[in-house]
Amino acid sequence: MTAASPTEPVLTVEGLSTSFQVDGRWSTVVRDVSFEVRPGETLAIVGESGSGKSVTSLSIMRLLPPRVSRIEGRIRLAGRDLGGLSEKEMRAVRGRDMAMIFQEPMTSLNPIFTIGRQISESLTCHLGLSKRDARAETLRLLEKVRIPNAASRFDEHPHQFSGGMRQRVMIAMALASRPKLLIADEPTTALDVTIQGQILDLIKQLQEEEDMAVLFITHDMGVVAEVADRTMVMFRGDAVETGTTEEVFLAGRHPYTRALLAAVPRLGEMAGEHWPRRFPIVDMATGVQAEGKSVDATVATHEEPVLAVRDLVTRFEVRGGVFGRKTGEIHAVEKVSFDLFQGETLSLVGESGCGKSTTGRSILRLVEPRSGRVDLDGFDVLDLDSRDLLRMRRSVQMIFQDPFASLNPRMTVGASVAEPYTAHRLGTRAEARDKAADLLTRVGLDPTMMSRYPHEFSGGQRQRIAIARALALDPKVIVADESVSALDVSIKAQVCNLLMDLQENLKIAFLFISHDMAVVERVSHRIAVMYLGEIVEIGPREAIFGDPQHPYTKRLMAAVPVPDPARRGIRRDLSGQELKSPVRPLDYVAPERRYRTVAPGHMVMEGAVG
């Protein structure tokens, strides 16, 4: 095989179509897609779920189940036609000439083998290295992907690594045999935003060093803008537009491209706005967009707050040893205080392990807080017996992240939505049914769908059903825990708009827990930034975004990818700083915290954290 000259593409795909056999019928999920990737170049394939972007990459690797899939078209890698290769020849190409990294670093490594073994396996398999040489080379690779103390971590297992570090291991594994093409399928989607930045930079740098071609699959326009030289937009199996990233972003011709871009929240686009504003509604067929209305003044600041949290502390025990003694504690929530007013949205933001979800659960007493005080709609929450707890939960409801897992698959959606109403004995069966129909209409669904089951609905529709269920008891407060994080951008925008509609009409207060800064900027009145169980900064949305004070807030903001191709050159700190853990020894005494007032309502924690 001859090495590709700089002008000759590493990968050429012509007329690729992929079909799957479902219930005996063939359905095409990728239709006539053509593109090429040159050495040192990054091509991004962008699209929403079901667009066929991942299937395209798996077709190139020929990793689809052979009996139920059919791949047509020509795929050439470095001048060699892959279509004619036998499975055995294809194995020699996979992992050697082209390698792949996946979305889920937590599950993509074999849990029972050491990471050293998993990386050296690629080396012994393709390059025929001896065990000793493979070990030396593996250590070099681990250092190359900047895993600290590589030598001591060779014999560790995947569970001893964080998500970001596991993705580095995956990258080391993919780079082992110096492939010409790296396929990265949503490599940073499951990672926290500061870790995402590190991994993106690492891929860019390694690409430069090795002059590798990269095929980057993602749904995130911000990531595309940062990494891609050229971009291909996919929509329901078709490649609707291909061009340089600048062309696609600034002068996208296809309506879907424009719709996709318009739906992406951009950090900072709310500057100068006082109230939350709905996302623009874009017609996916024409690309015409209608600017979203801002939410009317809903906040009742002059009244008592509907939810007041004071010095809330929640800890989990860590046990070990022969008798399962307590060896430490996870300080999940540490002296958190805030108010939430009727009709207001307060967002809790932060990265994995910062305690934002535990805070939400503690307020509903889904986990038992250690100490503090929570006043919710007249209830002293931490002092309620089980009967009053049930009554209290009429005032506060929760919407979860995963709309697939949080609806009972064996219950009709009508029954699911009516269940809170009947469980609290608020009326007859017929009344419950009427209520459910009314709620479904309110969240934009047709009440005739009541007798259907959850699997018949899309992710966005299911989240609407979950919202309808949360509304069944006319709650004053809704805790929305990453409620839009799993949704595609266009659906995310619609569901956020729905939440804002509900707030305007029903004056609901939202505790909006999210890691997505751009969404938070749209929907919030106020924002609290959490780090290691503590609120490090809290204030009006404009102040937090316009004048962030705490170093962590600044770091979080800087890490958010912005859908602006002008930022392609940016490099961040590659040091591989890990998220810290809030596990503390038993004798740890939480330090006294003092907050400095920057402006009315804008407070920032003083002193170092960690």
Partner: protein, 315 residues
């Protein structure tokens, strides 16, 4: 790791105590009086009273329990009322027989069940998979006694290949011993092999659809190494626990098989003891079986932890 084993061993103590209490009180609640059996037809009150004194049957029940437990801890499980032999030596005599039967059945089940399970999972929804399932179902549904009798008729009576019954100690004549045990262990092991196959299949199917198997394939590994190294090591974890539990059951399940093939093992010992109200032997056998169960469970837990690095970390 050692802390984990120590903790599990400590937990075994209360379990054994509860079982011993249960075994002891069951005896007391059962109808029938061994002394009457021993005293014979005449039932001379003086003889009965003397026997009661001799075996401390007039002491308060808790005292009897403590005395019995104390002796048991020193290895003295009492004397068989029927044969006048120490219970411990009776058990020591019969246990190896049943143990050999159980080990051979288990080996047979593992050697047949696991490869068939892997094959069925890899060839999911093909003729091979269906054939394996049909075989497994027949293995589970054919009664042991019927299969045993049919095998004796065919293999021993008609073909004369293997002895129909009896037992030959392994260390006296290993080959003959294995030959004698072959049919019984097949009869006892085939239902095990079937459930082993079903479990391996479903566990393997789950593992084969996981992300790290996709990673292994993306690496360009040969399919054989993907399945036998990456997938099997993960799929076999639940099988380890299952095997240990089934092994405990084998000791109990051997009763019927030993009757069919007239093997002088544990099963025969307990059946005879129960029929003659030989309390000391029943107590000893039940305690011994419980001890075996607990030991197997402990071994399974330790193995599971050794094979599973995630568990090792949480210790």
């Amino acid at each position: 790791m050692y802390a984990f084993i120590a903790r599990r061993l400590l937990l075994a103590i209360p379990t054994l105590l509860i079982i011993s209490l249960f075994v002891f009180s069951l005896q007391k609640l059962l109808p029938g009086d061994p002394v009457l059996v021993m005293a014979g037809e005449e039932r001379d009150p003086a003889v009965i009273e003397a026997l009661r004194e001799k075996y401390h049957l007039n002491d308060p029940v808790p005292m009897q329990y403590l005395a019995w437990l104390g002796n048991a801890l020193q290895g003295d499980l009492g004397i068989s009322l029927r044969t006048n032999q120490p219970v411990l030596s009776l058990i020591a005599e019969k246990l190896p027989v049943t143990l050999q039967l159980a080990v051979m059945s288990m080996t047979f089940a593992l050697l047949l069940g696991i490869p068939m399970g892997i094959l069925a999972a890899v060839k999911k929804n093909t003729a091979i998979d269906y054939l394996a399932s049909v075989l497994a179902l027949s293995g589970l549904s054919v009664p042991n006694f019927w299969l045993g009798i049919m095998l004796i008729l065919l293999v021993s009576v008609q073909l004369g290949w293997l002895p129909a019954s009896g037992y030959q100690p392994f260390f006296v004549d290993p080959l003959l011993s294995l030959k004698t045990m072959l049919m019984p262990s097949f009869v006892l092991g085939n239902a095990l092999a079937a459930s082993m196959m079903r479990h391996t299949r479903s566990s393997m199917i789950g593992v084969l659809s996981s992300d790290y198997i996709r990673t292994a394939r993306a690496k360009g590994l040969a399919e054989r190494s993907v399945i036998l190294s990456h997938a099997l090591r993960n799929a076999v974890l639940p099988i380890v626990t299952l095997s240990a539990l089934l092994f405990g059951e084998l000791l109990a399940g051997a009763v019927l098989t030993e009757q069919i093939f007239t093997i002088p093992g544990f099963g025969k010992l307990i059946v005879d003891a129960v029929f003659t109200r030989d309390y000391a032997v029943v107590q000893g056998v039940v305690l011994c079986t419980a001890f075996g169960f607990i030991t197997m469970n402990l071994i399974a837990d330790v193995l599971y932890v050794l094979l599973n690095p995630r568990m090792r970390a949480s210790l």
